[in-house]
């Protein structure tokens, strides 16, 4: 009986909500993290601008590959006009993406993308360009010469490789007087990154700059610089946000950080889907933008909107 009442209420609610518009479901890698909420916000903004209906769903944890597949399968059952998808595990999703392809539903990959040629485009941060911007800022802040070091979260993930190469290659190409003395991998773990960074500082007393390529690495670098009493002597540049990093940037302990633009990821995904439906040709990769933020622009509404605590 109660089931019936609840179900009836839901039907009443949803039949009003679902009007006859173009429907684009977005299946993400998560939904309750601030990052994904920002992606959702961007997607909803685009839905409003282009007058389409979207839903945004993702599993509770990034390990729940089968739950994401169930969501994908339910989304396809609704016969959507297009589909946005950020795969937790590309291989497991392939049969369903093929099903979408067969039904002529354009698939737009977002965030980390999908390891397949079915998606028409991938809307994500251009990590190479973003890390290169970090390198430019570093060069500017340390005066174009001296020793710098890098801590990256890992050497196997796409983001790890791209951010490392983006930073290292830009320094090598444009700033011959800057020497990268060490690139190490801390697994994104605060403590491990701290220990690594301390060892690097110990081994290179003349170090002038330090880049941490994700939130955990950046915090590790920051901790090490603090513990070794090198605040002000070593310029720290981080990546992403989080309460600790934001506080360090406000206090000046950290010079600044690169932030991705999750709102842009959501917006571009829906925009690309709409373009695909109109028959426009899409580039293989759609950069969703990134910013460098520091003490001076951290309260800028545009920056504030993409930072998470």
């Amino acid at each position: 009986m109660t089931v019936l009442i609840v179900a009836m209420m839901l039907v009443a609610v949803t039949t009003v909500a679902v009007a006859q518009t173009v429907y684009i479901p977005l299946i993400s890698k998560g939904f309750q993290h601030q990052f994904w909420q920002a992606v959702k916000e961007g997607a909803m903004q685009a839905a409003k601008d282009y007058k389409v209906t979207i839903t945004f769903e993702g599993p509770e944890s990034e390990a729940m590959v089968d739950k994401q597949i169930d969501m994908l399968s339910a989304a396809l059952a609704k016969k959507p006009a297009a589909l946005g998808f950020a795969a937790l595990d590309s291989k497991a999703a392939i049969p369903y993406l093929k099903q979408a392809q067969a039904a002529k539903i354009p698939v737009i990959a977002f965030d980390s993308g999908v390891d397949s040629d079915i998606p028409l485009t991938t809307c994500a941060t251009d990590n190479i360009a973003a890390a290169a911007l970090a390198a430019d800022m570093m060069a500017k802040l340390i005066g174009g010469e001296g020793e710098v070091a890098v801590i990256v979260h890992d050497q196997t993930s796409r983001t790890g490789i791209d951010r490392r190469d983006g930073f290292v290659n830009r320094i090598k190409e444009k700033y011959p007087k800057i020497k990268i003395v060490s690139v190490q991998y801390g697994g994104g773990d605060h403590l491990k990154s701290t220990d690594l960074a301390k060892a690097i500082i110990q081994a290179n007393p003349n170090l002038k700059g330090f880049f941490g390529a994700n939130e955990g690495s950046a915090i590790g670098v920051l901790n090490a610089v603090k513990e070794m009493g090198k605040i002000g002597k070593i310029t720290v540049i981080g990546y992403d946000s989080g309460a600790q990093q934001i506080a360090a940037i406000r206090s000046g302990e950290m010079a600044g950080a690169i932030t991705q633009n999750p709102v842009g990821i959501g917006y571009k995904t829906v925009e690309s889907a709409v373009k695909a439906l109109k028959g426009e040709k899409l580039p293989k990769f759609t950069d969703t933008g990134f910013y460098f933020y520091d003490k001076s622009n951290i309260d800028d509404p545009k920056i504030k909107a993409v930072l998470y605590q």
Partner: protein, 333 residues
């Protein structure tokens, strides 16, 4: 002789009319959900979507069948989700990394589950650790071991394509419109076998008897510890079957998967009318409970209900299911 009487009586109790009423109640709720969703969206009652629902039920349903036995003894098992993952990782280790035949992988998964379940059972029965704590420990243990063995990365079965067919192939594939995946057939077959074991064997009778009044059973000369350990080991073996299904479905063993699945399984058991205080329960109820959960999730998704509300609704349904069950129990007394 007296032990037989107690066990028989306990088994008979569980078939009293009140239990049947609960089953009918759960079943009619399921039918109502199906009807309501079918009217609400033309996309719901489509063969593709119905197969998707069954597929989404298979893993949780299989886990829930194992948990039903444990809950009937008055215990609880928080480790089934991660134990399932552990069995999948072990199977992947043998099949994908050591290139053993697929059949070996299946046996390894079931054996692994059985050993883990056996250990939980020993902790509960012999060491007298409360089931909640013992299986909580087992949950962490199997979670950690999965990550260690798989080196925190998924293991793919790309070199043994037959493995994916265990769950995603269909032995009925020759009938065009009846392509029910094997995962679903395994789930149904297991439900029938488990139901027979629970209702027609000594093992099933002692499962009920221990849950009804363990002390009385023990005093009448039955080695309850041994039967209890047996129930946990049996449930562990069923986790192994779930591990095979999920690994085959994802064509990989995902070592970080598992946490959260135990609660879904317990919810399915409870919605199906099995009492958390033990001594009562049916496999059919559990199967219906698992279907109610997956139909609800799928239907709400088809109706584009925001995800946050999907969770709220599922929570409300679980609370009501247990409340109705309690009312029924009170009335039958």
């Amino acid at each position: 002789m007296p032990e037989k009487i107690i066990a028989d009586k306990a088994a008979k109790d569980s078939f009293s009319s009140s239990s049947a009423k609960q089953k009918i109640l759960a079943f009619s709720s399921l039918i109502i959900l199906l009807i309501v969703f079918s009217f609400a969206s033309p996309n719901f009652f489509q063969s593709n979507n119905l197969i998707a629902i069954m597929l989404a039920t298979a893993v949780n349903g299989v886990l829930a069948i194992g948990v039903t036995f444990i809950i009937i003894t008055g215990g609880i098992d928080l480790s089934v989700g991660t134990m399932m993952t552990f069995t999948a990782v072990m199977a992947a280790q043998f099949v994908a990394n050591w290139h053993m035949p697929v059949m070996v992988g299946v046996l390894v998964a079931i054996m692994t589950g059985m050993v883990c379940g056996f250990l939980s059972g020993v902790m509960v029965a012999k060491l007298k650790i409360p089931p909640f704590i013992a299986t909580l420990g087992m949950m962490m243990l199997t979670k950690g071991l999965s990550l260690i063995i798989a080196q925190s990365k998924p293991i793919y079965f790309t070199e043994s394509p037959t493995f994916a067919l265990i769950a995603m192939g269909s032995i009925f594939s020759f009938i065009e419109s009846f392509k029910i995946p094997n995962a679903v057939l395994i789930f149904f077959a297991l439900a029938i076998v488990a139901s027979i074991i629970l209702n027609k064997t000594v093992f099933g009778r002692y499962t009920f008897a221990i849950g009804s009044n363990e002390e009385a059973v023990r005093l009448s000369g039955v080695n309850t510890d041994r039967w209890k350990i047996g129930v946990y080991a049996f449930s562990g073996a069923i986790c192994g079957i779930a591990g095979i299904i999920i690994a085959s479905r994802l064509n990989s063993a995902q070592p970080a998967l598992g946490p959260g699945y135990e609660l879904d399984a317990i919810a399915a058991v409870v919605i199906g009318g099995t009492s958390l205080s033990g001594g009562e329960g049916t496999i059919l109820g559990t199967v219906i409970g698992a279907f109610i959960m997956s139909v609800l999730t799928n239907g709400l998704r088809i109706l584009s209900v925001p995800q946050e509300w999907q969770i709220v609704v599922t929570g409300v349904i679980i609370i009501f299911a247990v409340y109705v069950d309690m009312l029924r129990r009170k009335r039958s007394k």
